[in-house]
C-alpha cells in the first residue's frame, strides 16, 4: 500500500495538548499515528486484519484510513491540512484536505464498533468535523459552536461514538463550512454490517461528487463561487484523471456516492439497469427498489446502487448533465455554428498570429486538436480511447467489466477487446440518392401557424372568402 507513516516526533507537544483535553476520560497510551499519502491513485481495498470481518470498499482515486485497536476502541487519526491534489495529469489544485489528499481517506468500520477519531487541525483557521448521517451523541455531531468548540489551528480534538447503524455516510467540516468544502475538505465513511453476508457484494466502490472553480492558469479554487463551477469532480479528480471501475464478469457490484457540490447530479451508467440499495438514511428494502439507469443525487445526499456485472465491456458512467462532463469552459464563448469564418480568420490571424477559427461546425473538433492552453488547465473536452477522442471531461469514467479478473485485481485492464462483429461499422455499400429535405424557409407553408388549406374565420364565426390567388402556388 502506498502509504507513508507520519510519526509524531516533531509534533509531540501538539499531541499532548490535544490529549490533555480528554485525559481523565480515556487512559490511552498514545495517539495513533496519522498515515498520509501523496498518490492520487486508487489504492487496494484495506482488508481488515483485526476486529469483525467485512468486505472492504475501493475508494475511487483514494484510499482507506488505517486504524489501530486500543482496547475495544477503533482509533483513527485525521489531519486537516493544506494539500496539493492532482485533478488529472496536467493540472494540480492547491486544496485543503485530510492526511495528504483531498478528499480525505475513507473511514471504514463495522456496525457496533466504538470509534475514536482524533482530528488534528493543521489549517490556518478553525475547523470541526461533522459525521454526516450518523446516529451519535449530540456533542459528537461536529457543528462548531453549536455542539462543540471549534478546533483551533494546531489543536487536536477527539470524537468518540458507537456506530449504531451500518450504511453509507460521509464526513465534512462544519466550521467555515462553505469555504472548507469549496477547498475540498470531505471524506467517505462506510459502516459495514455486523453480518458480513448482509447484502454483500464483490466490488464496492465509493466516491464523493465535488466541484471547484479554478481559474485557468491558477491553482487555488475560488471559494466564493456558488454555482458557476468549472471543475466537476469525483473525489477531486476530473476525466481523464478518474480511474476506471474495474469489475470482474458476474461480480455483484455496488457503487456508492455522496454529493457535496452545490447542484444535483443525475448519475448515469451505460449497459445495465441497477437498483438503489442504500442511501445516507439507511438500507433500502429490496421490495421498495426499482430498476433505473440514472439516479439523481441531490445536494447533500448519498446513493448506493447495486448491479450484477454480467455484460463485459467498457461501459461509460457519468453525470448526465452534459456540461458536467466538460472541463473548464468559457460561458461567454458565442455560438458560431453555421458561421463561415474563413475570410475573417485570415484577417484575425494578421493581428493575432496563431489564431484558429473554431466552432463553425460544432465543438467536437476541440476533442482532437490538443491546442496549447494556459498553464495548469485541462482541455474542455479531452481523452482518447481505442477508437479516437472521447471528447469528455469532468464527471466521466468507465466501468470496465472483464472476464477472468482475480478477486482483488483493480488494475486498469486496458480497452475492451470487442468480439468480432460487435462494433458499429461504416456502411460501404451503395446508397440510393438521398434527397435531403430543403431547409425550411419562413415563407413555406409548414412554418405557418394556421393551416393555409383551411379558410380563416371571420368575426361572425363564418369562413372568410379565400383571397384570390393566395397560396395557390404552394
Amino acid at each position: 500500500m502506498d502509504v507513508s507513516r507520519r510519526g509524531f516526533v516533531g509534533g509531540s507537544s501538539l499531541v499532548l495538548a490535544g490529549a490533555g483535553m480528554v485525559s481523565g476520560r480515556t487512559a490511552f497510551a498514545a495517539v495513533p499515528e496519522a498515515p498520509t499519502t501523496k498518490s492520487p491513485a486508487t489504492q487496494a481495498p484495506l482488508v481488515p486484519i483485526t476486529g469483525p470481518d467485512y468486505h472492504p470498499v475501493a475508494t475511487l482515486n483514494g484510499w482507506t484510513l488505517p486504524w489501530k485497536m486500543n482496547g475495544d476502541w477503533k482509533e483513527f487519526h485525521l489531519v486537516a491540512e493544506p494539500v496539493v491534489r492532482e485533478i488529472a495529469p496536467g493540472m494540480n489544485a492547491y486544496l485543503w484536505g485530510y492526511n495528504g489528499q483531498s478528499p480525505g481517506p475513507t473511514i471504514e468500520a463495522v456496525e457496533g464498533d466504538k470509534v475514536r477519531i482524533y482530528v488534528t487541525n493543521k489549517l490556518p483557521e478553525n475547523t470541526a468535523v461533522h459525521w454526516h448521517g450518523q446516529r451519535l451523541p449530540n456533542g459528537m455531531d461536529g457543528v462548531g459552536g453549536l455542539n462543540q468548540p471549534h478546533i483551533p489551528p494546531g489543536k487536536t480534538f477527539v470524537y468518540e461514538f458507537l456506530l449504531r447503524r451500518s450504511g453509507t455516510y460521509m464526513y465534512h467540516p462544519h466550521s467555515d463550512e462553505m469555504v472548507q468544502m469549496a477547498m475540498g475538505m470531505m471524506g467517505f465513511f462506510v459502516v459495514h454490517p455486523k453480518d458480513p453476508a448482509f447484502r454483500r457484494v464483490d466490488r464496492d466502490f465509493v466516491f464523493l461528487l465535488n466541484a471547484f472553480d479554478i481559474e485557468p492558469g491558477s491553482y487555488v479554487p475560488k471559494v466564493n463561487t456558488m454555482l458557476d463551477f468549472n471543475m466537476w469532480c469525483w473525489n477531486s479528480r476530473a476525466f481523464p484523471g478518474i480511474d476506471p471501475f474495474v469489475v470482474g464478469k458476474n461480480d455483484k457490484v455496488r457503487i456508492r456516492f455522496g454529493n457535496l457540490t452545490m447542484t444535483n447530479h443525475p448519475i448515469h451508467m451505460h449497459g445495465y439497469e441497477f437498483k438503489v440499495s442504500c442511501t445516507d438514511g439507511g438500507w433500502v428494502d429490496p421490495a421498495a427498489a426499482w430498476d433505473e439507469v440514472s439516479i439523481d443525487c441531490a445536494v447533500g445526499q448519498m446513493r448506493a446502487f447495486d448491479f450484477l456485472a454480467d455484460e463485459p465491456g467498457d461501459w461509460a458512467i457519468h453525470c448526465h448533465k452534459s456540461h458536467h462532463t466538460m472541463n473548464a469552459m468559457g460561458h461567454s464563448v458565442k455560438t458560431y455554428i453555421g458561421v463561415d469564418k474563413k475570410d475573417l480568420a485570415k484577417r484575425i490571424r494578421k493581428i493575432a498570429p496563431g489564431y484558429m477559427p473554431m466552432g463553425s461546425n460544432g465543438m467536437g473538433e476541440m476533442g482532437s486538436m490538443e491546442m496549447p492552453l494556459p498553464d495548469n488547465t485541462l482541455p474542455m473536452m479531452t481523452g482518447f480511447a481505442q477508437f479516437g477522442p472521447v471528447e469528455m471531461g469532468g464527471m466521466f469514467s468507465v466501468v470496465k467489466v472483464r472476464e477472468g479478473l482475480s478477486k482483488n485485481d483493480y488494475k486498469d485492464p486496458g480497452w475492451f477487446k470487442h468480439p468480432e462483429g460487435t462494433v458499429a461499422y461504416e456502411y460501404k455499400g451503395k446508397l440510393a440518392a438521398v434527397t435531403s429535405s430543403a431547409p425550411p424557409d419562413a415563407q413555406s407553408a409548414e412554418w405557418r401557424v394556421k393551416d393555409p388549406r383551411k379558410p380563416s374565420l371571420g368575426p361572425d364565426g363564418n369562413p372568410l372568402p379565400m383571397p384570390k390567388g393566395a397560396h395557390s402556388n404552394h
Partner: protein
C-alpha cells in the same frame, strides 16, 4: 528634402532607416549644467564682452575671482531599476559620474584709486549680469534636461514594461481562446489593445527624439526647435487602452 537642401543624386542616396535608433545613454543633471556652462555660445560671448570692457576701462590687475557656485569634485549617481515582466529579473541601471569642473570664474580687479567711479560701477554691472546669465543658463540646462529625461523615461517604460506586458496579455488571451475559455471578440480586443500600445510607444519615442534635439540646443544656446515634443502625451485611444 528641401530643408536638407538635397537634389538630384543626393536625393536617391538618402535612405531613411526603418526604425528609430536606440536610446542614448543617460547623463546626470550636474554633468549637463557643466556642459552648458562650457558650451553655451551666448555665455562665451558675454564673457568676451566683459573682458573687452575690462580692457577698455584699463583694468589689468585681477585681485580675486568669484565663482558662481562651488561644485567641484562632487560625485553623483543616478539609479533606476525595473522588473522585466518576461524573465522576472531585476534590471538595474546605474549612471555614476564625477562632476566635471562646474565653475565660472569672474575676475574682480583692484580698482585702487579708481580713476573713475563710473568705471567700477560699469564693470560690476556687467560682471553681475554675466553671473546672472550663468545662473539662468544652468536653469535652462536643467529644465531641458528634465523634459529630455522625462520623455526618455516614458519611452523606456513602454519598451521595458508596457509592450512586454501587452505581449503576455495577448499570448495568454490566445491560450484562453484555444481552450474555448474566452470568445474570439476578447482576443481581438486584446490584440487591438496591444496595437494601441505599440502606437503609443512609437509616439513616445518620437517625443523623446524631439526633446533630444531641444536639449542639445539648450546646451549650445540656440533656443528651442520648431517641433516641440508633445510632452509624452501620446495619443490614447479607447479609454486608456493605449497603455
Amino acid at each position: 528634402m528641401r530643408l536638407l537642401g538635397l537634389w538630384g543624386n543626393d536625393l536617391v542616396a538618402l535612405k531613411l532607416p526603418g526604425a528609430l535608433p536606440g536610446m542614448p545613454r543617460l547623463a546626470s543633471a550636474r554633468e549637463i549644467e557643466a556642459e552648458a556652462l562650457k558650451r553655451r555660445v551666448d555665455l562665451q560671448m558675454a564673457r568676451s564682452d566683459l573682458d573687452l570692457l575690462a580692457k577698455s576701462l584699463g583694468l589689468t590687475q585681477a585681485t580675486r575671482f568669484v565663482a558662481d557656485v562651488d561644485l567641484l569634485g562632487r560625485r553623483t549617481t543616478d539609479r533606476s531599476h525595473a522588473i522585466n515582466p518576461v524573465t522576472n529579473d531585476l534590471e538595474r541601471e546605474r549612471v555614476k559620474r564625477r562632476t566635471l569642473e562646474l565653475e565660472i570664474e569672474i575676475p574682480i580687479f583692484d580698482f585702487g584709486q579708481a580713476k573713475v567711479a563710473q568705471a567700477e560701477e560699469t564693470y560690476m554691472q556687467a560682471a553681475n549680469k554675466l553671473a546672472e546669465k550663468a545662473v539662468n543658463i544652468r536653469s535652462e540646462a536643467r529644465e531641458a534636461y528634465q523634459v529630455w529625461r522625462g520623455t526618455h523615461d516614458v519611452s523606456r517604460l513602454y519598451q521595458s514594461q508596457i509592450l512586454p506586458l501587452r505581449k503576455v496579455i495577448q499570448d495568454e488571451s490566445l491560450l484562453q481562446y484555444n481552450g474555448m475559455l474566452i470568445d474570439v471578440t476578447q482576443l481581438i480586443a486584446d490584440s487591438r489593445g496591444r496595437m494601441m500600445s505599440q502606437i503609443a510607444a512609437i509616439n513616445a519615442k518620437r517625443d523623446f527624439f524631439i526633446a533630444d534635439v531641444d536639449f542639445k540646443h539648450a546646451l549650445i544656446g540656440g533656443g528651442v526647435s520648431g517641433g516641440a515634443a508633445s510632452g509624452g502625451a501620446a495619443p490614447q485611444a479607447g479609454g486608456g487602452e493605449g497603455h
